[in-house]
Amino acid sequence: MKNSDRIELMAPAGNFESLQAAITNGADSVFFGVDQLNMRARASINFTIEDLPEITKRCEERKIRTYLTLNTIIYDHDLSIIKTLLDAAKVAGITAVIAMDQAVISYARQIDMEVHISTQINITNIETVKFYALFADTMVMSRELSLRQVKKITEQVEKEQIKGPSGKLVEIEIFGHGALCMAVSGKCYLSLHSHNSSANRGACKQNCRKKYTVIDQETGFEIELDNEYMMSPEDLCTLDFLDQVIDTGIKVLKIEGRGRAPEYVAKVIKTYREAIDAYYDGSFSKEKVKNWMTELEKVYNRGFWSGYYLGQKLGEWSDIDGSKATQKKVYIGKGMHYFPKSKIAEFKIEAFDLTIGDTILITGPTTGVEEFELTEMLVNDKKLEKARKGDSCTIPVDFRIRMSDKLYKIVKNNP
């Protein structure tokens, strides 16, 4: 639940597993896409319109705000589906829509739905904030601003009392963690030109994440690059200067990653939750930051940098294809049964093996993400140290597991 003097921690949710992980690990709000009209159109991970009531049901119980992302370019043929979607969102009790196109903003206002302005609009100055305040209560600033610039904007909002349709001061939001775009967000056409696949219709092919060589056509000489991933930015991470981030006066911190795995959402949200709470109770320290960073490095990342927020350096490029995560998950088996009285979960081992002392991960659409160390188990009803493929094993756990749950073990990743 959002405590109004604290910043809001906004989590990405690509599916029910991630949604549950966000809820359990302390998100104040979640954002998600439905069908194709959002920045992850290609992903098979989007929710459908029928999922909306279930999303609000799960979130309302914990007073978590829900934001529907509807932020692609909109064509005439989309006009009716956006109305259908927004109407359904309104009925389901979704808190707000994250929008870019004026058609979406306009219809949302007509049905009195709260509007948030998407990063696709790239707000970089106070006059633009004033303009969008006519329609929106929250707006995310361009990822290319420095914290100093963000602070000026939040101060101005306060000073000029810039209010949104709700009558409250508009809330300024920034990205806190996750992938960065090599172009100004929403203005990249690489994928469109190379694959007919428009990033601005949510179908980015991630050209910037690939290796390139540069050849002088005249001489045929290849220009030497010290990094062939010449346009793949490292991931944004603001955790180590979160105190400065909060001091800018922002109200919402958004975590990117609707395409990431549920354990990513769990880990990143849990870490930022702790860090934000530590800031407010005065215990934010270098020592803690060190531990939190180690935690963050365990899940998907292309290396971290501070983005443009600290304003000093340009372009920190990733030097790998994919992740630098220090650990990964390996599929072991699936959930079979839960005995609620004895609090025992039964799993069928379908691959590899499981040993006492392993860190295990259980994920599922209702369970979300649970990670813990395996301290005891029964294998085919006998107390054993190791369970192998084909075995049935039972583990004491104090939460319900389901048939749809998957069991993984966490191993070191040696990229």
Binding site: D35, Q36, L37, A41, R42, Y75, H77, D78, L79, S80, I81, I82, T84, H195, N196, S197, S198, R201, G202, A203, K205
Partner: protein, 76 residues
Amino acid sequence: MIVVTLQRKKCIGCNYCVELAPLQFQMSKKDGKAVLIRGIEKKGFYTIKSPDETIHEVCDLAAKACPTKIISVKIV
């Protein structure tokens, strides 16, 4: 005979196919995805069979342009 298939569910509604083959594709106002005109549905795949071989070229262009690669064109 030309056989054109559209796997509709994965469409992102970018409109490319309609630009290239406007007599075979149109955008649905209902869900914003492409419709293969007169396509017959089977398990999410919409198919037309046409004796008119002149449609091959445009449908092939649409298939190549489609960013999600859900259009296929065959001569049988």
